[in-house]
């Protein structure tokens, strides 16, 4: 059903009086609505009749002749520029050959791509295997490195201990003791004192053999004490006069100024009483 508004738009449309959005909207409606299109057609046909009312004026005869001349020229130009075209017989065969070639090429391409895909898959599996091997090797090397590190740490600790020991050695007190008695001019002794351990070693040679009720007694002279500190008693080999004893002081020693060996009664004495046999320099 067409209302008056649409009739009005259709009337303006056929007269070319619609503009802008009104024109666009109406043409959209026109495309959708067959009844509206029919109305426009009817109005256009009847409106065109108005041209008959304009006047009876006629164009000049020259216009007709001019137009026919232009038409003749256009017709000749068309005739000269029309190139007859006949489909060559070989074209279908060529097309078929092209199609076959294309199919073969595409098939080859497909097979090639499948082979390439399989190869790539194998390469991927190999790469994964190599990756896993590398991981295992790295893990093994990590364990070995851990062991080596542990071993090195121990070696380092040992070296550290050795260095410490050597450091202690520097603090050792080493002294030679010479004979003071006329009966044993060849007697000789060496005493080594380790202040860290508070112990020492005494080596003697060619001391006279002792009577059964006698002992040699070692003394350490420390300036902090008024009298020498008892280092213990020892006996020598009766035939050679040699001995090697490890000794300890009966009091804490800060520094040893001298070592001395005296001849005392059996078992030793708290304070030196007998003759001094050996004395360090």
């Amino acid at each position: 059903m067409i209302d008056e508004f649409q009739e009005e738009l259709a009337s303006l449309y056929v007269l070319g009086l619609l503009e802008g959005e009104d024109l666009a909207d109406f043409e959209q409606s026109l495309a959708r609505d067959p009844a509206l299109a029919r109305l426009v057609h009817e109005l256009r046909e009847s409106t065109a009749q108005l041209a008959l009312t304009a006047s009876d004026a006629a164009p000049s005869p020259e216009l007709r002749a001019r137009l026919l001349g232009q038409v003749d020229t256009a017709t000749r130009w068309r005739a000269q520029n029309v190139i007859p075209f006949r489909t060559p017989v070989w074209i279908p065969w060529a097309a078929a050959a092209c199609l076959a070639t294309t199919c073969a090429w595409l098939g080859q391409l497909y097979l090639g791509s499948r082979f390439e895909t399989a190869t790539l898959r194998d390469q991927q599996a190999l790469a994964e295997f190599q990756l896993q091997s590398a991981r295992n090797q790295i893990e093994a090397e990590r364990l070995i490195a851990g062991h080596q590190l542990s071993s090195m740490t121990e070696q380092l600790a040992s070296l550290d201990r050795q260095l410490k020991s050597e450091g202690d050695l520097a603090n050792f007190k080493i002294a030679t003791l010479a004979s003071l008695a006329g009966n044993s001019p060849q007697a000789l002794a060496v005493a080594v004192w380790n202040p860290a351990k508070q112990e020492g070693v005494l080596t003697v040679e060619k001391l006279p053999a002792l009577a059964a009720d006698k002992d040699y007694q070692l003394w350490l002279v420390d300036p902090q004490y008024a009298i020498p500190v008892d280092g213990g008693v020892f006996r020598v080999n009766p035939s050679t006069g040699d001995a090697r004893v490890t000794f300890k002081a009966n009091r804490p020693i800060n520094s040893v100024a001298k070592f001395a060996v005296s001849l005392e009664r059996k078992g030793g004495v708290p304070k030196a009483e007998g003759p001094m046999v050996l004395l360090s320099q």
């Binding site: 008056e4 009739e7 009005e8 009337s11 303006l12 449309y13 056929v14 007269l15 070319g16 009086l17 619609l18 503009e19 802008g20 024109l23 043409e27 026109l30 495309a31 067959p34 299109a37 029919r38 426009v40 057609h41 009817e42 109005l43 256009r44 046909e45 009847s46 409106t47 065109a48 009749q49 108005l50 041209a51 008959l52 009312t53 304009a54 006047s55 009876d56 004026a57 006629a58 164009p59 000049s60 216009l63 007709r64 001019r66 137009l67 026919l68 232009q70 038409v71 003749d72 256009a74 017709t75 068309r78």
Partner: protein, 225 residues
């Protein structure tokens, strides 16, 4: 104004076939006229088809049938004989070039030719920027039908005279306000607003007069198309 031609509909929009138009006619009153009109339209369409095949004779015949009303329309719009002839020349060359694109279902050949002529003439008017001048020139005499001049003696000319007389009678039968509005809308090249200003009437009133006038012409001329 955005462009010179944007305000016009396409030269020929898609519309139903002739049969739909003929179906609207009053059978008792217009049977003979409708048959004659359909025969004329069919003949014109056949001429266009032949022109599409580069038939020079068909072109000459169509020129003899259409050139007078097309020229008169262009002259009425442009008020200049030389320019009107230019327009007619353009239109016939366009018909010659576009003849292969013509479809009967899209309307009569005559309506197509008139639409081409009006659009080109109005474009020319606006190109000349003579709007204000035209407003002054569009006198009361212009708005009425022109007195007939001597026509050709051919059968086409006689038929044309008969058609023109019938259309003038139909236009004259319209109420004066509708007649004035329709003729200004068709021949002046003015916009809706300019027509309203020219008639010193509200825009809505002018639109309504155009609508009623065109519908009445359709009903009256239905058998003549």
């Amino acid at each position: 104004m955005s462009t010179l031609t944007s305000c016009y509909p396409a030269d020929f929009a898609v519309v139903p076939a002739w049969g739909n138009v003929l179906a609207r006619m009053k059978p008792a009153e217009h049977t003979a006229e409708a048959a004659a009109a359909a025969e004329r339209a069919h003949f014109d369409a056949e001429l266009l088809r032949r022109m599409g095949r580069s038939d020079r004779e068909a072109f000459a015949q169509l020129y003899d049938r259409f050139s007078r009303p097309l020229f008169a329309t262009a002259l009425r719009i442009l008020h200049d004989t030389a320019e009107a002839e230019d327009i007619v020349q353009d239109v016939f060359l366009a018909l010659w070039e576009k003849a292969t694109a013509y479809e009967v279902g899209r309307g009569s050949a005559f309506a197509w030719a008139v639409t081409l002529t009006r659009n080109r003439a109005i474009d020319r008017v606006r190109m000349r920027k003579r709007r204000s001048e035209l407003l002054a020139e569009t006198t009361a005499e212009d708005a009425g039908t022109q007195p007939s001049e001597s026509g050709p003696d051919s059968s086409d000319g006689l038929v044309l005279k008969e058609q023109a007389g019938a259309v003038r009678a139909a236009v004259a039968s319209l109420p004066a306000d509708q007649q004035r509005a329709v003729e200004l809308a068709f021949f002046s090249g003015l916009t809706q607003l300019e027509i309203a200003q020219k008639l010193s009437e509200p825009l809505g009133t002018v639109k309504a007069r155009i609508r009623r006038g065109l519908l009445r012409l359709r009903d009256t001329l239905g058998g003549r198309q």
